[in-house]
């Protein structure tokens, strides 16, 4: 398994007059200076003057670049830049699933669409539904950007390619200096043109920054593919679908209370399309209203979810405590991004783990789980909902920008093959029932929702009597309730699978991962195992509680290294819970995923040390 982030293929495609060769070359120069290895493939139209706007007239320039493994210009692009419908059409058959397509939406008129040979407008039908599309009105934006310079229309128009290049530079966090110098150099006798190009590239870059454009990453299939029907899916879409599937398997309507925030907004936007499933999406006035409406919906019997990212998560802190106290089933999805504070909204990071497990006032335990690949966001969203409903507790699901915006093929699940979810609802009067009376096995209370006759009751955020749920200031009762709430969460461990690991014969080094870095960690360990190294790998999706056999696995190894995109949060968490082991750490805090290379270096180093 490998991810595209080790190397990337970009293709610039447009009309012959669109300056694609120049754009490609300039990008190549910059990436080369940044120390990447590169292979390029310029691909001109065969006819000398092919008709404008037709597929035959499309000019392309493909670049493959990366830190390693670049031996060819690449098969299929990860990012396609299409300056007009024809350019799109020409490349559509040869795209990686779920790749990013950057389009000039201004170029999509009825005429150009027809000329390119599309029946319908591909921006409006399903043609692009599997890709991550960035539609930008590039022509008009470029023109606006250059109005001050008093250029004629044509000259301004020529800068489109440079504007587009600016967007691509943003997507790859490449610096502009190199290219700006090139323009200064090249047009030193024509300062207006130099300025136009510089303005255009900056405008493109800033535009992408302003709209918080994010490129998607794509993970190829693992070697052994399970036979079946597949489609590509992003992590955020998979999360949305997993939630819908879970609600259906629980037989209750889905409710989402949320407020837009990068990179979580897509989940809300996906769900809101599916009103036909009776899913209720409430776009709240802020994150607090988002989670509070969710708590209200849970009280009233919906499968209730809220979605957000770091700063929004912070705002939900107080209300999560209320859900803990009232023991209501809600799911809180945090698509993590770079922090602290507003931080790096478009970058990936795993630094909200401590906040999830311990970031509340009082002793306030919740279940915390995480997803590991874009497609398995479906499963973990489903599992989060199952646990919430079957254990009457808030569940925090941690995903990451890298997962939410990343995509991979998903083996389509049918509703039939998914397990039933059994909410702990009580619908007819039970004489022994009390609002906080518990099941002996799971310590759960029953879900009795408003509208149910003869079981009216009141809940709230004050400490409550262990059985009746009435407000109680009794000191012993408080201690008991703190213990019960903790134990209830601990007992979830009795209802989840044991932790697994890969490398049964290994003894020396155990690599521990969690969350969205699964693919890369797996890849790195896999390669080392093939090289015969004494290394194993275990990846955590259940964070709180940990699977029951965790200590048993850890005890088999000489060394344990915890790898995460933060400053060591899971490592610290493990130290607190399983202090008997020593944990090495590998951390990266750059808003970027790991690379296989850096991981292998680190693991080799540990394997070589005594």
């Amino acid at each position: 398994m490998k991810t595209t982030l080790e190397s990337v293929v970009i293709k610039f495609a447009g009309d012959s007059g669109d300056g694609m060769q120049l754009a490609g070359t300039l990008f190549t120069d910059t990436t080369a200076v940044m120390g990447n290895s590169i292979a390029t493939f310029p691909d001109f139209p065969s006819e000398i003057r092919a008709p404008q706007g037709t597929v035959a007239g499309v000019s392309g320039f493909q670049i493959h670049f990366g830190t390693s493994g670049v031996h060819s210009p690449g098969d299929t692009p990860d990012i396609l830049v299409a300056m007009n419908p024809a350019a799109l059409k020409a490349n559509l058959h040869n795209l990686k699933p779920a790749c990013t397509i950057l389009l000039d939406s201004d170029a999509f008129s009825k005429k150009t669409i027809e000329k390119a040979g599309f029946g319908n407008n591909p921006l409006e039908d399903d043609t692009l539904s599997d890709f991550k599309v960035i539609e930008a009105p590039i022509t008009s934006l470029t023109k606006s950007a250059l109005t001050d310079l008093g250029l004629d229309n044509k000259t301004a128009d020529r800068c489109k390619n440079v504007f587009t290049l600016g967007i691509v530079f943003w997507l790859f966090s490449e610096p502009l200096e190199q290219t700006i110098n090139f323009f200064k150099q090249k047009f030193k006798n024509n300062p207006t043109i130099a300025e136009a190009n510089i303005k255009a590239i900056k405008a493109g870059y800033n535009y992408a920054l302003t709209i918080e454009a994010i490129k998607s990453s794509f993970t190829v299939l693992p070697a052994k593919k399970v036979p079946g029907t597949y489609r590509n899916i992003t992590g955020n879409q998979a999360t949305a679908w997993g939630l819908m599937a879970a609600a259906q398997k629980a037989g209750k309507p889905l409710f989402l209370g949320s407020y837009p925030i990068t990179p979580a907004t897509d989940i809300m936007q996906e769900l809101t399309k599916h009103k036909w499933t009776k899913t209720r999406v409430f776009q709240a006035e802020d994150e607090i209203a988002g989670i509070c409406s969710t708590i209200g919906a849970a009280f009233a019997g919906n499968v209730a979810v809220t979605t957000t990212s770091g700063p929004g998560m912070a705002l939900k802190t107080e209300a999560i405590g209320l859900a803990v106290m009232t023991e209501l089933p809600i799911v809180i999805v945090n698509v993590q991004r770079g922090g602290p504070s507003t931080g790096l909204p478009t970058k990936t990071e795993q630094s909200d783990l401590m906040q999830a497990v311990w970031g509340r006032n009082g002793e306030s335990p919740v279940v915390v789980i995480s997803a590991s690949t874009p497609a398995d966001c479906f499963d973990w969203a489903f599992e989060a909902t199952r646990i919430a409903l079957e254990h009457m507790t808030p569940v925090i699901l941690l995903t990451e920008s890298y997962l939410g915006n990343g995509a991979e093929p998903w083996r389509i699940k049918s509703l039939k093959e998914l397990p039933e979810i059994k909410p702990l609802m009580l619908e007819t009067k039970d004489a022994n029932w009390q609002p906080y009376k518990r099941d002996n096995e799971k310590l759960t209370r029953k879900w009795v929702v408003p509208g149910t006759p003869e079981m009216q009751h009141r809940i709230g955020g004050l400490e409550k009597d262990e059985c009746t749920g009435c407000v109680s200031h009794n000191p012993q009762n408080h201690e008991l309730m703190v213990k019960i709430r903790k134990e209830k969460i601990q007992r979830v461990a009795n209802f989840i699978p044991e932790q697994r690991y890969k490398g049964k014969d290994a003894k020396k080094l155990l690599v521990v991962g969690w969350g969205g870095q699964f693919g890369i960690l797996f890849g790195a360990v896999n390669e080392l195992q093939k090289e015969g190294k004494d290394i194993a790998f275990t990846h955590f999706n259940y964070i709180n509680p940990l699977p029951k056999n965790t200590a048993e696995i850890f005890s088999k190894f000489d060394k344990i290294i915890v790898c995460e995109l933060n400053d060591g949060q899971f490592a610290n968490y493990l130290r607190a819970l399983l202090p008997q082991f020593k944990y090495e750490q590998y951390n990266k805090i750059q808003g970027l995923p790991f690379t296989v290379k850096e991981l292998k270096n680190k693991f080799n180093q540990l394997l070589e040390e005594k």
Partner: protein, 342 residues
Amino acid sequence: MEATTLQCLYKPRDYASDQEVKWCPGCGDYAIISAVQKTFSELNLKKEDVTIVSGIGCSSRFPYYMNTYGFHTIHGRAAAVATGVKLANPDLSVWMMSGDGDSLAIGGNHFIHAVRRNININLILFNNEIYGLTKGQYSPTSERGKITKSSPYGTVESPFNVGELTLGSKGHFYARVPDTDVKLMTEVMKQAYLHEGFSVVEVLQNCVIFNDKTHADITSKETKLNNQILLEHGKPMLFGENNSKGLLLNGLDLEVVTIGENGISEEDILVHDASAKSNVLHNLLIQMKLPEFPIAMGVIRNADANVYDKAFFEQMENQEQLSKYKSLDDLFMSGNIFTINS
């Protein structure tokens, strides 16, 4: 209003829970709970169909005392929780109980948005112009200059007028009542229930401990006849002893006149139209202040408008009709799918 003429299902006290009521003796909240119980009884509400949501404050302990479903949430968030309840189950009768601090200080944002959306929830706003539970700090409705625990030299801020804020947030139902008149409260709460959309019922509530008599100029036996005017839809705006005084419009200003003086007769007096689409006159009535004017009581605004939950579910039903998918399986199998064989 048919409901009120039927035999009642429950007596008011049937709506009381088994929990002891814990407000201070003499607190205005007692009268409010009586009025709510009477209202429920007269409306024939089933206990299980009522959900009462509150925030935090003395007033917010309300749900504990009612034998309905109840949720004592966190400070300021009742409107948001109630919104979730209503959208999860629109058949429930959702009531929100909240103080001036809870709804207008920390909860101000949820208040204005619930009003704007016009979701079908009934808010009883206990306005004692003080933070009771935390022992007496000024609130956003405390009058300017008020000396409280947190303003030993008097406040330097001007208060909200609950009615103005409601209308400024696009509100379509606003009523004001004194905690001294259970009958009026009951009548007004019934109208709030019958109004589709978000209803704001402001109760001028007395906190005997931390802000005693703050509304006394308006509500006391001695002053109320002259200092209150009860507005009733379709009726002339009369008040005072023997209804001897009334309200007139003079340009864009209201004016108090005496019937029989300067040739004024009852016919000249403004007639209250709570259902007027325009809120201009409602705003003028809401803004009336002592000593120049009496304080307006009763249902001041009760106008029809789009209701959020109704539109929300209508759109849902439409989509159920229109959607090209009939099941999640349809959806999952849509778009570009491909098969991998073993």
